[in-house]
Symmetry: C2
Subunit: 197 residues, 2 copies
């Protein structure tokens, strides 16, 4: 069965890929608004884990709308949620039996409710799978440590293809760098450099 996994090159989506690999032909898929080349980091991480990679184009209007939401809110949560939903809808249009993402039980954002999951499944006639939603933060950290070579550090310095890099770039086009820092407070990110198991 063919499965498209929303993939960033980070530890969560990399772990999701290995879990799903037992049962599906997993393709790592990264959405891009065309604002940065950050998607190349995901392509490289997928190659290191030996999964096929695909890039899909996301709708620039969604990025602009999400950036406006983040600026109005002063924090990224609702904007990131909006982009995640758009990215899931986008890969659900691919020719696959199932789509998946790396959301965990303890994540605050993005989240996909049971009702949202069933709506996505019914409208696209696919399965939606969140293989990490039964794993807590501690369990994921232990598995990651046992499985991957991970680089961890401040979000701005870690090569990663999540949506944050593109929205930072979009906001920086029209606002001061201090505004970007206000919306995206300092936090750590991870990037997977390969397997050690």
């Amino acid at each position: 069965m063919e499965l498209a996994l929303l993939y960033s090159g980070g530890k969560d989506s990399s772990l999701a890929a290995l879990l799903l690999d037992r049962f599906y032909d997993v393709r790592c898929v990264t959405g891009t608004f065309g604002l940065t080349d950050d998607w190349e980091h995901a392509e490289r991480a997928a190659a290191e884990l030996e999964f096929p990679f695909e890039r899909v184009e996301l709708d620039r209007a969604v990025a602009e709308e999400a950036a406006e939401t983040m600026l109005a809110d002063g924090y990224p949560r609702n904007g990131i949620q909006r982009i995640h939903e758009h990215a899931l809808e986008t890969i659900a249009n691919l020719d696959v039996d199932a789509v998946a993402d790396g959301t965990r039980r303890d994540d605050r954002v993005p989240t996909v409710s049971r009702a949202q999951a069933q709506s996505l499944e019914d409208r696209h006639e696919i399965d939606y799978i969140s293989p990490l939603s039964g794993f807590g933060r501690h369990a994921v950290d232990r598995l990651v440590e046992a499985t991957f070579e991970v680089e961890q550090g401040p979000s701005e310095e870690i090569p990663k293809a999540d949506y944050e890099g593109e929205i930072r770039a979009l906001i920086a086009e029209t606002h001061d760098v201090s505004v970007v820092r206000e919306v995206f407070p300092a936090h750590d990110q991870t990037y997977v450099h390969g397997r050690n198991d």
Copy 2:
């Protein structure tokens, strides 16, 4: 890492075993109140899937309390939930790094909320994992069909080591068989006879 999986020999807990096998040393564990020998069905299914098996004793007082709840309710849901929580607490006392069960996203019972999961983890210093909670009913059915030889039929005729058989026996000790049928309406169960993948 050592993991104890609550195991019935049915399709859900069998699929959970294969998913977890990628990352854990999985032991299939079946709880019994000592009322029937149904646990032997789980032992046989685990052997066919080539997983180690362990039987643990559950507290007879919990079975009696659950049976009373089911008789008062007229349906099994709350009693089954109570037994599942007791079984999870019991295996959390084993010498393992993690415990798991086969609950799915679309299950109504048993369910383990995020708060219950975190409480179990904190009190026992283990991880609690529900590897199927990110899979809907349709996705599970497709994976089961691709993976196992399954026997399906009315609950009374399928050999399986869930709690239902023991509680039926307990109620039948003191009540008419019609009472048992009233509490447990006719439904289908599954039993895994081996792998076909």
